[in-house]
């Protein structure tokens, strides 16, 4: 969403149904063209079976999402370069799994785990839980809140364990992080001993009320305790912050980008040359992901392992997942495989 953009909700909801004949004709034309499958159905409401059929065709046209082998610090986890978020639209989980996405962010918030995941062996995918004692309005020194949240989420979801205990919003001061000697890490250690979590991470936010982003990241890197960081990374991120993120990755910390669209789309939308360079004319979401997942460090290797984005329908899925998916990237002369 571009800043100051006028959003007309009535126009967004003016839709019509398709007969079987119309649907088959549109799908046939779409799969035979180089354009996006979902563009053929703009303004249409698809039935459940039509959605399933279009979804399969879309995933086939996209190809698989490449995976990156994370460092030993994260157990050599092979993580898809775009990860799923718990609050995606429910009908996107099946195509996400089919496209090879294997990590679910915020999985602790599931009221019920989607069938697309339930039918898979638990060991075949990864999940994190965002633990809220560090969220604004909570008490970051509250061990019991952190510990009990994880326990109750496992009881509710039946997920057995969380791969990552992720401190939600992170710490807002260096003092509250306290070089890693804090309630979150102590709760993580206890839960790890009980076999309920494996790795310690943070979803570090920034902005009003937070100390300088690069300082917070450097303190967390220096603690040696963090296995994975989810960070605000977009076309708007400063060079100083990117340098701290590269340093984190060089230290073996897994880096996941968030706020790619929310904070980078305005600048990206206004940069026609960048959109063209990223083979994403008219697709700001795709360009933003290609930008962050293509960021390279001094060693010439990418330092952002994966990105999470808010996907709400098939059109968004195709535009965003198509940023790195094998067939689309290859057709654009790009590759997001990490050697």
């Amino acid at each position: 969403m571009q800043q100051d953009e006028r959003i007309d909700l009535a126009a967004q909801n003016a839709r019509r149904n398709l007969t079987r004949r119309e649907f088959v004709r549109k799908l046939g034309v779409a799969t035979g063209s180089a354009g996006m499958i979902t563009a053929a159905f703009t303004g249409c409401t698809l039935s459940t079976s039509q959605r399933a059929e279009a979804s399969e065709a879309m995933v086939d046209a996209l190809g698989k999402v490449p995976k990156v082998k994370c460092s030993k610090r994260l157990g050599g986890m092979e993580m898809s370069r775009i990860i799923i978020c718990q609050d995606w639209a429910g009908d996107l989980f099946d195509p996400a799994v089919a496209a090879g996405m294997n990590f679910v962010h915020k999985a602790g918030y599931f009221r019920t785990v989607p069938e697309a995941l339930k039918k898979l062996p638990r060991e075949s995918y990864y999940v994190d839980t965002t633990v809220d004692n560090t969220s604004p309005g909570h008490d970051p020194t509250n061990f019991d809140e952190a510990y009990n949240q994880v326990k109750s989420e496992l009881d509710r979801t039946g997920l057995k364990y969380f791969d990552v205990f992720r401190a939600h919003y992170g710490w807002n001061t260096l003092n509250s992080f306290n070089k890693g000697d804090n309630a979150s890490y102590r709760a993580f250690e206890k839960l790890k001993k009980e076999g309920l979590v494996k790795y310690f991470g943070v979803s570090q936010h920034t902005g009003g009320g937070y100390e300088k982003y690069a300082d917070m990241l450097n303190a967390q890197i220096d603690s040696g305790l963090i296995h994975t960081m989810q960070l605000w990374i977009s076309y708007n991120t400063s060079a100083e912050e990117l340098a701290a993120m590269e340093k984190a990755h060089n230290a073996g910390i897994n880096i996941i980008a968030m706020k790619v669209y929310a904070h980078g789309s305005g600048k990206m939308r206004g940069d026609a040359a960048k959109l063209t360079e990223l083979k994403s004319d008219g697709m700001v979401g795709r360009a933003g992901l290609r930008y962050v997942l293509g960021l390279k460090g001094a060693n010439g290797k990418p330092f952002v392992d994966a990105a999470v984005t808010n996907l709400r329908n098939f059109n968004m899925f195709e535009e965003n997942v198509g940023s790195v998916a094998a067939k689309v990237a290859m057709a654009d002369g790009l590759s997001y495989h990490v050697a």
């Binding site: 953009e5 839709r15 698809l46 602790g108 309005g137 929310a262 968004m316």
Partner: protein, 123 residues
């Protein structure tokens, strides 16, 4: 029905406004707009327009007061609370959003708001 998104550098970034020049916004109106977006998404089967409202929801969760309520009117650009009036409107929105997203993320905020109503009635 339309709205304009506040600039990304504003305190309440990307929050909706009724006009391009508006800075002071009624958060109860934001909540009602959000509920209508959810209702439309349910009718159309397309939750695309919910995306921006999810950002608003996350801001509501982290700005809820100790009384379980929110300031009724704020300046989106500066973050200034314009008057002392409070609103519980965002709780209805958060409850409906949690339902449509199959998410417990907003449950605590909704509970705190409901407890606020109960204690006010008891008082």
């Amino acid at each position: 029905m339309e709205y304009f998104a506040a600039p990304v550098e504003w305190y309440w970034e990307l929050f909706p406004r009724q006009t391009e020049v508006e800075e002071v916004v009624d958060l109860g109106w934001v909540a009602r707009l959000s509920v209508s977006i959810i209702e439309r998404a349910k009718q159309s089967g397309d939750s695309g327009p919910i995306g921006p409202a999810m950002h608003w929801a996350h801001r509501f969760v982290i700005t809820q007061g100790v009384d379980g309520a929110w300031p009724a009117k704020v300046n989106l650009r500066t973050g200034e609370v314009v008057d002392s009036t409070r609103t519980l409107g965002p709780a209805d929105f958060l409850e409906k959003l949690g339902d449509i997203l199959n998410s417990s993320e907003f449950d605590r905020a909704v509970t705190r708001a409901r407890e606020s109503i109960c204690s006010a009635e008891a008082g």
